[in-house]
Amino acid sequence: MKRLMTLALVVCLAATASACGGSKSSKSGGKTAVTISNEQGTTWSCGFNPFNSDVNFLSFGTVYEELTFVNGLKSGQTTDWLASSYAWSNSNKTLTVTIRPGVKWSDGKPLTAGDVLFTFNLLKKNEGLDLNAAWSVLKDVTRNGNKITFDFKGSAVPYFYYIAAQTPIVPEHIWSTIKNPVTYKDTHPVGTGPFKMASCSPQVIKYTKNAGYWQKGKPTIETVYYPAFTSNDPANQQLASGKAQWGSQFIPNIKSYYVSKSADNHYWFPPTVNVSIFINLQDPILKDVAVRKAMAYAIDRKKVSEIGEYGYEPPANQTGIVTPTFSSWLDPSLAKQYTYNPQKAIQTLQAAGYKKKGNLFYTPEGKPLSFRILNIGGYSDWVASVQVIQKQLAAVGIKITPENLSSTTYDADNYNGKFQLSYNGNESGGPAPYYELRQVLYSKNSAPIGKPAATNWERYENPATDRLIEQYASTADPATQHGIVRKLEQVMVNEVPVIPVTEGVDWYQYNTRDLKGWVTPDNPYAQPAAYVNPDWGVVLLNLKPKSAS
């Protein structure tokens, strides 16, 4: 888990006072090894089924691979992977990919288009494996020699990401013999990827280099250790002491706890998705856009970022475009709206007929602007952020009362729409801003109150917006796509269905003592957090021992 737990703070205080010793060498027996420190809050089950949502981050990217790699830090730039090329046709309803020749499974058998066809038919037959709901948009998949043709029910450009980049390809000669692939553990995965799973215990997984990997001369890393951490502190300690080279979690006070320990310790937190206040649009008071606009003016996002998030998560803007990651999509004139302006907030409420009595605004019917806001009690950074927001809203005359819940209660209430306000965000959007805007604004991701909504928790529904979202799916032209996204930004600004407050980041720490080739702000070739798949496989593929040229 990436969030700061109360306990983490305590160990940080204890550990910052100490000068941690020099780091141990990451080399064992002359071969280069990487140790990952990514607290997942779980011990390993030693299953590697790439279609099992619980463990696929352990096999997808290193052992299993995708057809095309899509870089979420470069607005979805594609790199051909198991597919050597792809093309859209039939007004973006048909996608044809050519399978790369010369790729071998780690048991020596060649990869063929038949394996790809088999994989997608496997998802069709077993609903429980279809994590990306590919068959909700696919009509048919056919093979012609080394080519695979995907026929979609409608125009499906954004689905390329789910089909080509997020679906691991599995070997037919192994998976066709499995009786129930949904409950298949896959303890010894056979894939095309750069690494093989060598051994696994509940505490640590060891991966070794796949010598027959299809990208010649790669990987140069011999061994990857992936220990299981059930809490943040030991994982952070391993990073600070240099025992682990690659970290992917929240470290409180990172400068003194981590960076100061060694000149080789670095971090970068690229923002990828918004953390927002979701507003229940069916609430009798909150359905008035004036109230929502007033709140958007009244929140000083910069303060929230600095106090609540240690400045790690930068302030967001009302358009919903995450900057600087997706800056090219941003309409600069819109981004400047709703800069912190409490006076404007008060004027907006007064103009809409709300009256201030004492410290609080009231509706014309005499109801106070007082709302409950859901939050996760275990995320102390979010709790701190909401406290800041609470003060800022109180200053203009809107009262919010935080309810810090356990994550299960919180999720259930969010999905079912049982809230007035909720501090929330998907932990990942997609390779372009469209994906997150679609998650938040598309009516098909909504549901009636009491029924679980997938991502449109605030229950925003507008046919005109739906049309924009569907229109984007039918075009592969970047200029048209940018135009549509700008219109969606307009929706975010005019209707304020949610209020983006800060920008969620990929947590990423790295040590350059023995290794080079890390993802850096100058070379963002993949999302750098070890929990992002298949990106983590690409990162491991690019790491090199420092001695090598």
Partner: protein
């Protein structure tokens, strides 16, 4: 005989009640496993995946509670605990058996050690009341017992592992060690267990000392002890057979209970030290709405505690004839 039957009857009724509660309580919690999984999935998943997850986990929202209850009882009778959702698709039995040895070794050993040491110190301290031992050890350990466990553990990690580097700071063994019955592995595992074990010991021993000491002091004032002294028995014999045997009774019941709770692990210990035991697994199962794992662990704890109480009753009956006098 009546005593034994009565105790057994009590055991069976309690077991049934516990099993039934064990079934009902988790189901009163909000949310379901697919929801928990969605939130764990970092959002890197298509929104419609919820359906796929529900299919994969076999979440049947339509199954009636009564039907589910009888299926559950039947499965328990056959020791069939099902598939864990947290470690999907692994079986609950396999996962629990993997974690249990770590917990038994760590918490079991420390509980027994704490009981033995605490009782001995308490007995001797009371026997030599006002002596050096009595003046030093009980106050120290009573104070350490009052420390918040995680604070003491973090302090120990900071001092002994980060500052001095004597012991490992987390985990059950070093990640580069191969798991096997080899000297290298066992010594490594031992090195990793020292800090958690010592911190548990230091925070739990005070209770045993205090009760044992106070009981012994009360017992020492009894007439039969004076009688024994008058008879001229050796102090050693009086301490063990007259004072100790009677004073240990309340401690013994407490010990049996805590032995039963050994299988529940020590959540804080395992959390702070990243130790691969059952306690943490327990927490995890609750967070993930993993009914199967939760129920198996609850059941294991209940049965262990009930058996321990049964054993304590037996031991008390042997040590103290008054308790079996009714027939």
């Amino acid at each position: 005989m009546r005593f034994v039957l009565r105790r057994l009857g009590f055991f069976v009724v309690t077991l049934w009640a516990a099993i039934t509660l064990n079934f009902l309580i988790p189901r009163l919690m909000p949310g379901n496993a697919a929801l928990s999984m969605m939130s764990r999935y970092k959002g890197h998943i298509n929104p419609n995946a919820m359906h796929a997850l529900e299919v994969a986990f076999g979440i049947k929202t339509h199954e009636s509670l009564v039907h589910a209850y009888f299926t559950y009882i039947g499965n328990i009778a056959r020791l069939h605990f099902g598939i864990s959702l947290t470690f999907f698709p692994d079986t609950v039995t396999h996962q629990v058996l993997q974690a249990l040895p770590w917990t038994l070794a760590l918490v079991g050993t420390t509980t027994i050690l704490a009981f033995i040491l605490g009782t001995l110190i308490g007995l001797v301290a009371a026997w030599r009341r006002g002596g050096v031992l009595d003046g030093v050890l009980p106050p120290i350990f009573v104070i350490t017992s009052a420390f918040p466990y995680f604070w003491l553990a973090l302090l120990a990690i900071w001092l002994f592992s980060i500052k001095l580097g004597w012991f490992a700071e987390s985990g059950g063994y070093d990640v580069t060690t191969t798991v096997a019955w080899s000297w290298a592995f066992v010594s490594d595992a031992f090195r990793h267990s020292v800090l958690p074990a010592v911190t548990i010991l230091v925070t739990s021993i005070g209770g045993w000392i205090l009760t044992m000491r106070n009981n012994t002091i009360t017992v020492l004032a009894e007439d039969y002890v004076r009688m024994a002294r008058a008879k001229g028995l050796s102090p050693w014999r009086i301490m063990w057979h007259y004072a100790g045997r009677n004073a240990i009774l309340p401690n013994l019941t407490g010990f049996a209970m805590s032995l039963g709770f050994v299988v529940s692990g020590a959540i804080l210990v395992e959390f702070v030290f990243n130790y691969p035991g059952v306690g943490w697994m327990f927490l995890q199962s609750v967070e993930n709405q993993d009914y199967a794992l939760m129920q198996a662990l609850f059941l294991m704890i209940t049965v262990a505690v009930l058996i321990a109480i049964l054993a304590a009753d037996g031991a008390t009956a042997i040590l103290d004839p008054r308790t079996r006098d009714r027939s």
